[in-house]
Amino acid sequence: MKRIVNIVDEENNEGKYEIFCSFDSEITGKSYVIFTEYTESPSGTLLMKAGSYKEENDKLYVNTKLTAEENEMISNVLNTIINQATKNDKK
């Protein structure tokens, strides 16, 4: 998957976003993506969003309305990645 992609949300808003990671879930059978807003000159804090997605014509159609279980799973994915990154940083 590209680093910078056009994402269309559930309300049909389209914008450029930077992908942090993506994965598939065997439990829900869906694909998920975690992303932030994309800016040419980043500054300040960026909010990270997540949702399930389908890819069509180089665009990601993302649904950010997730169930509690899905939210928990995404939190766990992110936590695991952060923990791994931190572990490496402490070396």
């Binding site: 993506s22 598939d24 065997e26 980043p42 804090t45 990270m48 997540a50 766990n76 936590n79 990645i81």
Partner: protein, 495 residues
Amino acid sequence: MDEKKLKNAVYTTYKVFNERKKDGALQASGALANYMKYRDPNYFTSTNGARQDIIKYIAREELAVYLSRYLLRKATSERPRNHYESLLYQAIQRKKLEHISDRRIISELAYSMLGEEKNFFEQDSDKIAEIACQLFTDEVAYEKEEEAHRIQQEAQKQLESRFGVKNLRINPIAVNYCAQEVLDGTQISIQNDIKNNGNLEGRPARNYNLNDEMFATTDIGEKRKNQEDSVLIMYHPKNPKYKMLLVADGMGGHQDGEKASSQIAQKMYYWFNKLDTQLLSSERIGDLSREWTSQLQEINDEINKMYANAGSTFVGAIVGEENTLVASVGDSRAYFLGKDNELYQITSDDNPAYQVWKRRWGQPEARLTPQMLDAKKVEKDLLRFRKDSNRIHSAIGVGQYDVRPHYISVPNDQYSTLMLFSDGVTDCLSDTQIKAITQRTDYKKLSQMLVAEAIQQDSYIPRQYRNDGDYNPVIQGGKDNATVAVLKNKQGDER
């Protein structure tokens, strides 16, 4: 931004990151994003006012770590070449350090080494900044690749069993794997370590993709024991609209051929990184070719000094403001697919038979009848079957005193796809085959497809030439290392 504020900003980011992660992953996201930006070398090299300050800060705080890792990689892969490398090499031998991960020891070593150099840190801060910037960019990119891979693997392991997470992909942050492997020397030696990597199923191919714009594939082939081809695709650090692609095909016994081609790729990487972007304007194309020749001459002299009979062919392209300048030495070729969807060979082979063919058919095609055009095509394709097709009269190194590259400049809006080849591909594929593959293949898979076809297909000479002693009746697919670099030029793409 003054140093104190900067230092605070960096530490605050760390602090916020560390605090927020306790509160839940999504809340930590902003800090994580900042953290990743901090780790991103592109952030530091972007043209913002804080750049120099950041670099200077990093120079003092982190130079030793990055320098030491750089030296460690160098010292363990080749003989030490200077005072720093020699010191570190001795230290490594003494302490039997085998892994880069022992940061503390390595950092201490580097500090002590630098300390011996007359108060290194008191030297001109701009100079330190420049060194640090280069090392930082190289090392962070290298580290980031390893780190992302490791994090991905570890996280996947944990998440799969607990949450049924599959295919976790953490997006790499624009790392140029091709350049990294050229610089650390693994591109040419990696074929023994990897199996089933890349889309050439079951083959030890290396595939590279830079932002879905530049692509490269290199494969050892079926017969050779060494990978003597080197390939490099890269952007100019100051502006990504300027690009360079090159293929070098090593020649010479033992492993010297691969060293020669690798050396060309490495030196060209550093040269292009520092190349004055003013030379990339269309008015300065003459100056650019002179600079390029002078650099190739320098590399030629170095290779001649280091290796008795080793050398390499070379084909490279520099994409400038409005034109692409292509240089070639030997029989590595460049082609482009024009706006008219036709395939054109841009370069001339430094091969006697090719030169004869070119002299015979060099006139504009408009003057040729259809029969003559067919004959031209047939004769061109016969060249690769000639027994003397591997004889070239120009190369870099191999004891040659002078390097005389051929240059040709192509307007950027005249082509949609630019391709560079080692002869392992062009010996096995005719121009007609290259054209057909280029037209039918998605450009993202083009370099892989061309290499795969060159390895897998045998070519047979037309029946009437089968008993002619000047020709080989069959060219076996994969007889040589096969390498392709591709640039998808959106400016010239009207397809």
